[in-house]
Amino acid sequence: MSYLREKTPAPAAVPGQGERVTGSEILLRMLLAEGVDCVFGYPGGAVLYIYDAMHGNPAFRHVLTRHEQGAIHAADGYARSTGKTGVCLATSGPGATNLITGIATAHMDSVPLVVITGNVASNLIGTDSFQEADIVGMTQPITKHSYFVRRVEDLARIIREAFLLAGTGRKGPILIDIPKDVTAAVTEFVYPESIDIPGYEWANPEANPVDETKLDELIDAIASSAKPLLLAGGGVIQADGSGVLLEFIEKTRIPVTTTLMGLGSVPADHDLWLGMPGMHGTYAANRALIECDLLIAVGARFDDRVTMRLDGFAPHARVAHLDIDAAEIGKLVPASLPIVGDARRILERLNAKLPKPFPDQAEWIESLRKRRREFPLRYAPSTEELKPQYVIEMISRTTDGNAIVTTDVGQHQMWAAQFYRFRHPRSLVTSGGLGTMGFGFPSAIGAQIGNPGKTVVSVNGDGGMQMCAQELAICATHNIPVKIAVINNRTLGMIKQWQELIYDGRYSHIDLSGSPDFVKLAEAYGVKGLRAETPSEAQRVWKEALKTPGPVLIDFVVSKNELVFPMVPQGKALQDIILGPEGSCDRWTGN
C-alpha cells in the first residue's frame, strides 16, 4: 500500500529537489524533512562524509556524546519522553557494535529509533577490512527491521521507510547501515513521494479497523463481570492513549493496575489506581490479579516480572488481550478475547460503544481499596539515616509528580516506580524489558533536549552511574539542566538483595567501594556536585539543586541495607508475595 503521512512535508516543500548531491547530503536533508531536530552521534572513519556534510549544514543539530552507548540511550530517552522517533549515528565496526546494547534496550520496550551506522566501502565489505562489522547481521534479532544501503539512489526511500516503520504499528528500532562510498556518491535528490512496503500492515492505521464484534463481546463480558480488572502497559503510552484510557476507566469504573512501562498512563492519585503489579508490585494490584474474573490487558505483553509464575497469574479470569502486536496475543497467557489494534483506537471505539450507565462493582472496588489502605507501600523512616525511599518521596513531592524521571536499573528503579507519584504519560523513562544499567543518565540528556522546559530528574544507583558517567561532559558543554540523583548505597543493591534473600546471604562481588567521589567527578566535568547524608541535608541540598539553572549531580549517601518490598521471588506465584518487615504480615498465605 502507498501511504503518505500527514506530518511529513509535501514533496514540494522539501527544498533542493532535483539537485545533484552526495548520499551524505541526502541523508541530512531527509532527516530534516522527517522533522528530526537532534541527532546523537559520534564520528569515525566510515561516517566522515556525513560529518563533512554536517559542517556545511548548520540547520542540522548534532550532539556529540562521549560514547556511542551514550548516544543511543540519549536518542532513546528523547523518543520515550517526546513520542517522536529518536535518531543516533555511529561509525562502522566498534562504533556500530557499541550501539548494540542500546538497540536491544529500545527493541524490548518498543521505542521508535532510527539508528544510522556507517560501514566500510562496498568493495571492502566481506574482506575483514579495518573497522568492518556485519552490524545488520548482528542486530537482526534486536531490530524491527534493518537496511543495508547498496545504492545511493535507494537512500532517500530507505530513510522514509525507516521512519515509517519505526513510528507505526508496534514501534521499534530500525537500523540503516550505509557503506562509505554510498555516502560519497552523487545522485539527484528526489524526495520519495510515496512509499510502498507490501509486507507491512501498519503503514496506514486506517487500513486495520478494529474488530467491532470483538468489542461488543468485550462490553458484554464487562457487563457480566463481578470483578473486572484493567492491566495497562507501555502500549497505552506508545499510542498516546492515556486520555482515552482514563475516559474508559471513568465510564466503566474498572480498577486499574499499570505495569512499569505503563506508569504515568493513569495518575497516581486516581481513586481506581492500584499501583504497579508483579515482582515489586503492590499488594492490592497483585491481589486484584489473583482474584479478578475478567482481566483486560491493554498494550501489555505479560512480562515474567508482571505475571510471575504463569499458573498463579489471574487464575480465575477470562482474559481480554488488546494489543497492536498479534504475536503477543496468546504468546504467554491464553486470551479468549483477542483484539488486535492500536490501544488508543481500540479504547476510542470502546468508549463510543459503551452503554450508560454502566454497573459499578462497588463491593469489588471497596475490597481492593481496603487492601490498598491496609497494605500500602512502606518503609521504616529515620531521622538520622537517609533512606533511599525517602529520597524518591522527596523528589516526587517537590516536583509534584510533574517531572520527567529517568532511572537506571536496580533497587532505585523499583523505588522510583513505587514512590514517585507519576501523573503524566511519558514521564517515566526506564529500561523495563532489557534492564540496561547505564541507561538512566544518558536517557535523561535526551529527555531534557526533547523537553527543554521541563524538570528532568535522572535517578541512578552508584553502579549504573559509573556505566555512562562520561556523558557528564555533554551536560556541562551544552548546559543541559538535568538533575542527576545518585542513590548511593556503595553496593549493587538489587544483587545484594537477591543474595540475601535467595542465596542465604552469600554476598558475592557486590561491594562497590572504590567508586569515585561523585561530587568531585561531577566537578571534574564542570557540573555542580552536592552531597547529602541525612534527611535534613537531603532536603536542603535537593532544594538547592532544583533552584540551580544548570545540571547538578546530587550524591545521596543512603543506608546500605534497604530491601525492595513487596517482593515475589522469581519462580514463585503472585500469591507468594513477601511484604517485608514493614508490612503487617511477613508473608501473605491465605485470604
Binding site: 545488520v136 547481521g137 537482526q140 534479532p141 524491527k144 527491521h145 543495508f148 516503520l165 508496534r170 512496503i197 507490501p198 509486507g199 507491512y200 500492515e201 502486536d325 498479534a326 504475536a327 496475543i329 496468546g330 504468546k331 491464553p334
Partner: protein
C-alpha cells in the same frame, strides 16, 4: 507433536533467509526443514518450513513470521487441501548380487537410479516425507553411504 508445513512468500532480498532462520532459532522453535526458491512473482521467493509444535505454538510461529517486514504472506498449508513433495538422493553400496533387488524396490517406489558406478549407485526419490522415510527404512539393510534430502515443498490444491 504434529509436524506442520508453513508456506510464505518473502522479498527476494539479501539476508532474508537469515532473518527467517534467525527468528526460528532465537525463539527456540523446532524446525525440520526450510526450502527456498523463486516463486511466480518477480522479486519474491517462496519458503516452506516444516515445523513441529502444538496448534498454539504453530500459530505463534506464523504471527512472528508475519512481523518480519520481508515476509509478505503466511499460510498454514494444512488448513486447505495440499500436496507436498521432497527430493531425496541416496548413495548405496553396490553389491552386484543385490542390484536387481534394489532395482525392484526402486521401481515399486517409483524412484529412479540416476548413477551407477563400480562400487556405488545413486537412487533418486520424490515423494512426501512419509513415503521417503518408508523407502529409507527398506533400503537401510543394503548399506546407505550418503543421504541428502531437500526438505518438503508444498502447494495448496485448487485456486
Amino acid at each position: 507433536m504434529d509436524r506442520k508445513l508453513i508456506g510464505f512468500t518473502v522479498n527476494d532480498t539479501p539476508g532474508v533467509l537469515q532473518r527467517v532462520s534467525g527468528l526460528f532459532s532465537r525463539r527456540g522453535y523446532n524446525i525440520e526443514s526450510i526450502t527456498v526458491g523463486p516463486s511466480e512473482r518477480e522479486g519474491c521467493s517462496r519458503m516452506i518450513v516444516a515445523a513441529s509444535g502444538d496448534d498454539a505454538l504453530i500459530r505463534q510461529m506464523c504471527s512472528q513470521l508475519r512481523k518480519l517486514i520481508d515476509v509478505l504472506d503466511v499460510v498454514l498449508m494444512h488448513e486447505r487441501p495440499y500436496v507436498s513433495r521432497e527430493l531425496m538422493l541416496v548413495k548405496l553400496r553396490m553389491d552386484p548380487s543385490k542390484r536387481a533387488e534394489i532395482q525392484t524396490l526402486a521401481d515399486t517406489f517409483r524412484c529412479s537410479v540416476i548413477d551407477i558406478g563400480p562400487e556405488t549407485m545413486i537412487v533418486q526419490i520424490v515423494g512426501d516425507t512419509d513415503k521417503n522415510d518408508a523407502f529409507l527404512q527398506l533400503i537401510q539393510p543394503y548399506g546407505i553411504l550418503e543421504l541428502t534430502r531437500t526438505g518438503e515443498t508444498a502447494m495448496n490444491r485448487g485456486m
